[in-house]
């Protein structure tokens, strides 16, 4: 019988729990099944895993015992639900908070059912304490069925295949087109940028010129030539390029560096002017 319960639970996992033959509920007279009050912990855990949560368990209890979902006997439902919660606790299964929360909700509804309902100020029918629970149960049941139906829909790649006929030549990567006008445009952009640079940054950032003079001096190891362009950090933007350039000019004016070029259009080289070197050459 115990494996039976486990099997039922597994069937429930597959979305079939409405068809579940019941697991035994303590104290519940069940004519159609021999009463077997004990569910071993391992079977119980499998059984409970078949439920997606407290709403699912409640739905199961309601459907199983043919209770009217629109007129739930709260005392009966609460008692059955609590027995499961008790079993979970007794077998020290890790009890999801959701199950305890639902227990509290059920007990609260049950107690409100016992009290006379205060007439509402708007003189409408006093609300049934079960209304919200019923609404949730119906919505959950609706979605549970929808989920089952979705799961049965044929899915591409699993239940049917797509057609994708081979194409001999891999579609050639389309290369960008460039027109002469694009080149003119690019050149114009360079010149415009150059002009903006001239206007812009000479008056600004004079202070940082000294900082860049230091940076350049540090970059020039004693005795070695460094190409002019290597002293710039173009990636940091045009304004800094200008400042760096000013810094180089200032270093030269202050006779801290030598700037040399073999012939026009050759690379420009920069090196530290060292006392010793000067002396040697002299």
């Amino acid at each position: 019988m115990t494996t039976h319960a486990a099997n039922d639970a597994l069937a429930g996992q597959a979305g079939l729990d409405l068809a579940l033959p019941v697991a035994k509920i303590r104290g519940e007279p069940m004519a159609e099944l021999p009463a077997d009050l004990y569910i071993p912990p391992e079977a119980l855990s499998v059984f409970l895993e078949a439920f997606e949560g407290p709403l699912d368990l409640l739905l199961y209890l309601i459907r199983r015992h043919s209770l009217d979902i629109l007129d739930i006997p709260m005392a009966e439902l609460t008692r059955q639900y609590m027995e499961y919660v008790e079993m979970m606790r007794a077998t020290q299964l890790e009890l999801a908070a959701d199950y305890l929360l639902m227990a509290a909700v059920l007990i609260e509804i049950k107690s409100r059912m016992l009290l006379p309902r205060p007439p509402r100020e708007d003189a409408l029918e006093p609300e049934d304490p079960r209304a919200e629970l019923v609404r949730r149960l119906l919505e959950y049941e609706r979605m549970k069925k929808a989920a089952y139906a979705l799961g049965e829909l044929p899915v591409a790649g699993r239940d049917f295949s797509l057609v994708e006929v081979y194409i001999e030549q891999a579609i050639a990567e389309r290369l960008p087109e460039v027109h002469v006008a694009d080149l003119s445009e690019a050149w114009r952009a360079i010149l415009t940028r150059a002009r903006m640079t001239r206007h812009h940054h000479i008056t600004r950032e004079q202070l940082s010129v000294r900082a860049h003079m230091s940076r350049i001096l540090r970059a020039l190891a004693p005795g070695s030539f460094v190409e002019f362009s290597a002293l710039f950090e173009p990636e940091r933007g045009v304004p800094l390029l200008v400042v760096s350039f000013l810094a180089l000019l200032e270093l030269a004016r202050e006779s801290l560096i030598d700037i040399t070029q073999q012939s026009p259009f050759d690379p420009i080289y920069v090196r530290l002017r060292s006392e010793r070197a000067t002396l040697t050459i002299a």
């Binding site: 996992q13 597959a14 979305g15 079939l16 409405l18 068809a19 997606e52 949560g53 407290p54 709403l55 699912d56 999801a96 959701d98 639902m102 949730r136 919505e139 959950y140 049941e141 609706r142 979605m143 549970k144 069925k145 929808a146 989920a147 089952y148 139906a149 979705l150 799961g151 049965e152 829909l153 044929p154 899915v155 591409a156 790649g157 699993r158 239940d159 049917f160 295949s161 797509l162 057609v163 994708e164 006929v165 081979y166 194409i167």
Partner: protein, 206 residues
């Protein structure tokens, strides 16, 4: 370029059909009528393309593959009845989802746009990140915004790929909820597993 300003009295529809067929048979994704128009540099109008698509659909209806419109356009698919043969030589298949994932999917599909909190309200349990991730990674649901409430929770909706993969054109083609409810009356029979190979074997054994 400006040819589409002229009226093309009679595009060779047989040629159009062959080109459409080649494109649709080789495309990795469904193709829209707009995309198909580009095959002819705009020289065949949408009406003619639709007409030829319907013709193609008819021509193929008796064969093993069929031309079907889905959410993102037109595509060929193998008729589901052939899958059992193809399964004998194919290797990997997308997984069947757990109930938790399917219920989450159903709530997103039927109640969208929804937040994770909305899903949890319906299911009565916490929705784990792997559950949502499975559907996001599959490309079936996506975040379409955030709700302007405390915590600014993400809002989920189903994608076009979800519809495509289920061979549907729109959400209206999903199984209607109402029918499901009335179908509940007949549940025990209806919920028998459809692929009952096991029970058949058991019957043989017994």
């Amino acid at each position: 370029m400006n040819m589409n300003e002229q009226t093309h009295p009679a595009p060779d529809l047989e040629h159009v059909k062959r080109v459409l067929e080649a494109a649709l048979l080789s495309a990795a994704e469904p193709l829209t009528v707009q995309q198909l128009k580009r095959l002819f540099s705009g020289e065949v109008d949408a009406d003619n393309i639709r007409k030829v698509l319907e013709e193609l659909r008819g021509e193929w209806s008796e064969r093993s593959i069929e031309l079907t419109p889905v959410a993102s356009g037109w595509r060929f698919r193998v008729k589901p009845g052939y899958q059992k043969f193809l399964d004998r030589i194919s290797q990997e298949k997308p997984p069947r989802y757990s109930r938790a994932v399917l219920e989450t999917l159903a709530i997103v599909a039927y109640r969208q746009p929804v937040t994770r909190g909305d899903i949890e309200d319906v299911r009565g349990v916490a929705v784990s990140p792997p559950t949502l991730n499975a559907l996001v990674e599959r490309g079936w649901i996506e975040v379409i915004g955030t709700r302007e409430t405390p915590g600014r929770p993400a809002i989920f909706a189903t994608t076009r790929k979800f519809l495509d993969d289920l061979n549907l054109r729109s959400l209206e083609e999903l199984p209607p909820l109402e029918e499901l409810q009335s179908a509940l009356a007949a549940v025990p029979a209806a919920l028998q597993p459809p692929e009952s190979t096991q029970s058949t074997e058991q019957t043989h054994a017994g």
